[in-house]
């Protein structure tokens, strides 16, 4: 009986406690800079798409929310014909970012993606592509990849450095 009254009294004292609720839309919670939220596709410093449509992200994805189709441009460089992420399935795990060999796919701290229509959560490549290089400002995959393209050997393409001579030790 006494314990019941003590319980009720201690609950009543919570009247004067600070409330822990964060009034969300007006008052934002702290988000770590490396928080994993909405997925974007970044571009290299020259403005080209970084994605080479290797499908590694689609394979790494545990919920199969990424779908893409590879194709090649006139220089025999691979790029995605379409790149589709279904954000109603995405769990923001970041495995796609880990899997990506070209730093193309990156996760941002944005998570406010509410929609009335579920279909609006399926993002196409135009929705995903951003104008900048994201977290890796200087990196340009095609300059360091050592992949030959149509008509030109390694290191002969525009703005591409010559390949490192592997058999000679001196530079």
């Amino acid at each position: 009986m006494l314990s019941i009254i003590r319980t009720m009294w201690s609950v009543f004292l919570h009247t004067f406690h600070r409330r822990v609720t964060i009034q969300y839309p007006e008052q934002k919670a702290y988000l770590a800079p490396r928080y994993r939220g909405r997925i974007i596709l970044s571009r290299d410093p020259d403005g080209g798409e970084r994605c080479v449509a290797c499908h590694l992200c689609a394979i790494a994805c545990p919920v199969d929310c990424i779908a893409l189709q590879a194709t090649e441009d006139e220089n025999e460089r691979r790029y995605p014909e379409f790149f589709r992420i279904n954000f109603s399935r995405c769990i923001f795990c970041g495995y796609c970012e880990d899997a990506c060999p070209t730093y193309a796919i990156q996760l941002t701290p944005d998570f406010e993606m509410s929609e009335y229509n579920r279909q609006n959560l399926v993002y196409e490549k135009e929705d995903l592509l951003i104008d900048g290089p994201g977290k890796y400002p200087g990196y340009n995959y095609w300059r360091v990849s050592g992949v030959s393209i149509g008509g030109k050997g390694k290191g002969e393409a525009e703005n591409e450095l010559p390949p490192v001579e592997l058999r000679r030790l001196t530079p």
Binding site: I4, T7, M8, V11, F12, H14, T15, R18, R19, T21
Partner: protein, 316 residues
């Protein structure tokens, strides 16, 4: 026998009771949130007051579905019974001098009778749903209400002895010198516990016990029929609070303020107390509930009655 303005009283009490119990939805959620360090509904309108309206619109717009395995006639009647019995009980409630629908000379017994008829609503709802969880809820309700009604009536007999009447107005007037909560403190505690059990509130909400019985007797109910159970429950709490105020805390009596204000202050204080009970206490197990009722509360109520009777006889 009745008030000078019967129709004004009837509609006034009806409107106040219904709107008060609707507003209780908001009050309860806000208070529970307050005691759990949250805010509760605070978006719709100022302080979230329009939440009541939003809930009403939602509940009216819901599909009103009768399951094919239900006993249709009884299924439809059941939620109406609780509304009727609780609203009828408000008729004998003296709110202020002159503001009462029917000043019956057996007002207290009328209240007890109506609260005992209210059980049918729960039991029949549980049975007619044709669902095993609902049936269990109905069975629990029957056993619980039966046991708690006995000492609920018993605990009030002390008040009746002191006031010398079953008439609620007379009972209130008999408290002009001393509120009955002091000479009848045990009776007050017993009636409080029985009242919580009669209103099927936590910690005695065994009939609906959403953790084990899904939602007990109203598992199969939807739409406005569910809404009637919901409002009926809140009306029940309001009624029990008002009864406690009338029987033990001197009804409308109080200094300075007008009587009706005092009455509502007392009722609101007990409503908050009921919500505090819900916020702080866990649900009892069913066998604990029954043995508490029959082995602790019932003998205490009997002893209270006998001692009060002896004292009244000696000092008269």
């Amino acid at each position: 026998m009745t008030s000078p303005y019967p129709f004004a009283s009837i509609f006034g009490i009806l409107i106040v009771a219904l709107s008060l119990s609707a507003a209780l939805i908001w009050v309860e959620r806000r208070l529970l949130a307050l005691w759990q360090d949250r805010y509760g509904p605070n978006r719709a309108g100022p302080f979230g007051l329009l939440q009541v309206l939003a809930d009403m619109i939602k509940i009216f717009a819901k599909e009103d579905w009768i399951p094919p395995f239900a006993d249709k006639a009884v299924f439809v009647i059941a939620p109406a019974i609780i509304m009727v019995t609780v609203l009828l009980s408000f008729a004998v409630l003296p709110i202020a001098p002159g503001i009462i629908v029917a000043d019956l000379n057996i007002g207290l017994l009328f209240f007890l009778g109506m609260s005992s008829l209210g059980v049918y609503s729960i039991v029949l709802a549980g049975w007619s749903s044709g669902n095993k969880y609902s049936l269990l809820g109905g069975l629990r309700a029957a056993a619980q209400m039966m046991s708690y009604e006995v000492f609920m009536g018993m605990s009030l007999m002390g008040v009746v002895l002191l006031a010398g009447s079953f008439n609620l107005t007379t009972i209130v007037e008999a408290q002009s010198k001393l509120w009955f909560v002091i000479p009848q403190f045990l009776g007050f505690i017993l009636f409080l516990i029985a009242g919580v059990a009669e209103a099927r509130r936590l910690p005695f909400d065994l009939p609906e016990a959403e953790a084990e019985l899904v939602a007990g007797f109203h598992s199969e109910y939807s739409g406005m029929k569910f809404g009637m159970f919901f409002v009926g429950e809140y009306l029940g709490i309001t009624l029990i609070s008002a009864m406690i105020a009338v029987l033990f805390f001197g009804g409308w009596m109080g200094p300075w303020l007008p009587p009706i204000v005092w009455f509502f202050i007392k009722v609101f204080a007990f409503l908050c107390f009921f919500i505090l009970l819900r916020a702080s206490l866990p649900r009892l197990r069913f066998d604990q509930l029954m043995s508490l009722g029959w082995k602790v509360m019932f003998p205490l109520a009997l002893a209270n009655l006998v001692v009060t009777g002896a004292i009244v006889t000696v000092f008269k």
